[in-house]
């Protein structure tokens, strides 16, 4: 099978890669581009650990073919922090909203997508938005509280 040549903009940088036609975006991010912050959980779109943004849209990168990323803007967990942690990351730390950490990058990317779209979501909205991100450690409450406080921080930067 011949490789495909793909050019995408990933976390603000133009990146080129070669991929197999049936290779997923998740596999390319992790195995070809060294962006291992995006995690592989179920590989069937159920767990959300591989969440990334493609053209601003929250998707599971395990359900996107790498070839589909041609000319697309891809944002991953590696693009969230600046010189300092993003307020969402900071609040996940403050609330201890993680234990093993496998789900965390997906939760943070999904939370950023939510807060970019809706800066002041109520608890129900947060829970429904994050229903596609599974966490088997925390029981979710700490995550919800971290998201609520991150929304406050983003609305009123210190």
């Amino acid at each position: 099978m011949s490789k495909m040549h793909v050019t995408s903009r990933i976390n603000g940088e133009s990146r080129e890669f070669l991929c197999d036609p049936n290779q997923t975006l998740l596999d390319v991010l992790r195995d070809e581009l060294g962006l291992t912050g995006t995690k592989e959980g179920c590989s069937t779109g159920d767990c959300g650990a591989c969440s990334v943004l493609v053209d601003g849209r929250l998707v599971c990168s395990c359900l996107v073919l790498a070839a589909e990323a041609q000319d697309k803007l891809v944002e991953t967990i590696e693009g969230i922090a600046g010189d300092e942690l993003h307020p969402i990351q900071q609040q996940f730390l403050e609330h201890a909203a993680l234990q093993c950490g496998i789900c965390t990058p997906g939760f943070i990317v999904a939370t950023k997508a939510l807060l970019d779209k809706n800066p002041d979501p109520d608890e129900k909205t947060i829970r429904y938005w994050l229903a596609g991100n599974l966490c088997r450690c925390t029981g979710y409450d700490k995550i919800i509280r971290a998201v609520q406080d991150a929304a406050k921080d983003l609305a009123h930067p210190a």
């Binding site: 493609v54 998707v59 359900l63 073919l65 938005w129 229903a131 596609g132």
Partner: protein
């Protein structure tokens, strides 16, 4: 491959039909990628339909709404006018999968995947959606209720592709609803589902109705007897009850881990009654 025109798309599909090499269309990929990895690993050419103008159409015309086969559920649900015109179809699409899935999944893909439990299918049948199908021989139309021919099987012939769905513009005092039952609040597969579309006259008498049921037969079904029970009535309790009973009678479900035959037949009537009541309220503008 990602053809940029319908001509190039159907030519690609034709070449594969002639050569005998397998080709499969990808839209949102939320079913296809899972199937490629686990159920059916046979190599194939993947033909992406998301570069076409036609499949990306999401247009509200004078007498027809067109939803292209590449329009994601998320995009549909961000369209306030569409939510108002087709509440039943949009609430069905909104029930399918997580935020992440809805960012990619399409109702066209849900239809082609042809699962008995596909939530958008009864909702599409209820609003009278018609498939816009292209091939090198030209375009043809097929009502959604005739498109799914069996579990996981659709009416597309080799070389054909679904470009989108054409939905008649709802009239005055016409509205729709879709309900499904699952044992939890989110992220599950329907035990039973029901889509209802109703038109009322000025006095509140039902002049037209379409009722469709899902997950209670090998394919989603249009239930004309349920519509007949509603038409000509003021949608009183007796009429709505009769429509529910017609859905139970039309259902031929299986027993599985999600529910037994008896349970599904009972639940589909409850869903039909509730969906009819919601559609009625919406049609009244309440």
């Amino acid at each position: 491959m990602a053809p940029a025109t319908v001509d190039a798309l159907v030519a690609t599909l034709d070449e594969h039909v002639k050569s005998g090499e397998r080709a499969q269309v990808i839209s949102g990929g939320t079913d296809l990628l899972v199937q490629m990895r686990s159920i059916d690993k046979t190599p194939r050419t993947i033909v992406d339909i998301k570069k076409l103008a036609e499949t990306n159409r999401c247009e509200i015309g004078a007498d027809e709404i067109y939803i292209g086969a590449a329009v994601s559920s998320a995009l549909m649900n961000e369209n306030a006018e569409l939510r108002k015109l087709l509440p039943g179809l949009l609430e069905a699409a909104d029930l399918i999968g997580s935020t992440q899935i809805q960012g990619r999944a399409t109702i066209g893909g849900n239809l082609c995947n042809a699962s008995p439990a596909g939530d958008s299918i009864p909702a599409m049948i209820a609003v009278g959606a018609v498939c816009d199908i292209a091939s090198s021989a030209g375009q043809r139309s097929l009502p959604v209720e005739e498109f799914v021919v069996g579990v996981g099987r659709n009416a597309l012939a080799p070389g054909e592709v679904l470009l989108g769905l054409k939905i008649p513009m709802p009239g005055a005092r016409q509205s729709s609803a879709y309900l499904r039952f699952i044992p939890r609040t989110e992220m599950d597969i329907a035990v039973a589902g029901c889509g209802v579309d109703l038109t009322l006259d000025e006095k509140g008498v039902c002049t037209a109705a379409r009722v469709a049921i899902g997950a209670v037969a090998p394919t989603a079904l249009l239930v004309p007897a349920a519509a007949d029970a509603l038409i000509g009535t003021s949608l009183d309790d007796a009429a709505i009850h009769a429509a529910g009973e017609a859905c139970t009678a039309a259902a031929s479900p299986i027993s599985d881990k999600r529910g037994t035959v008896e349970y599904r037949k009972k639940v589909v009537a409850v869903l039909a009654r509730r969906a009819a009541a919601i559609a009625k309220q919406r049609a009244l503008g309440a």
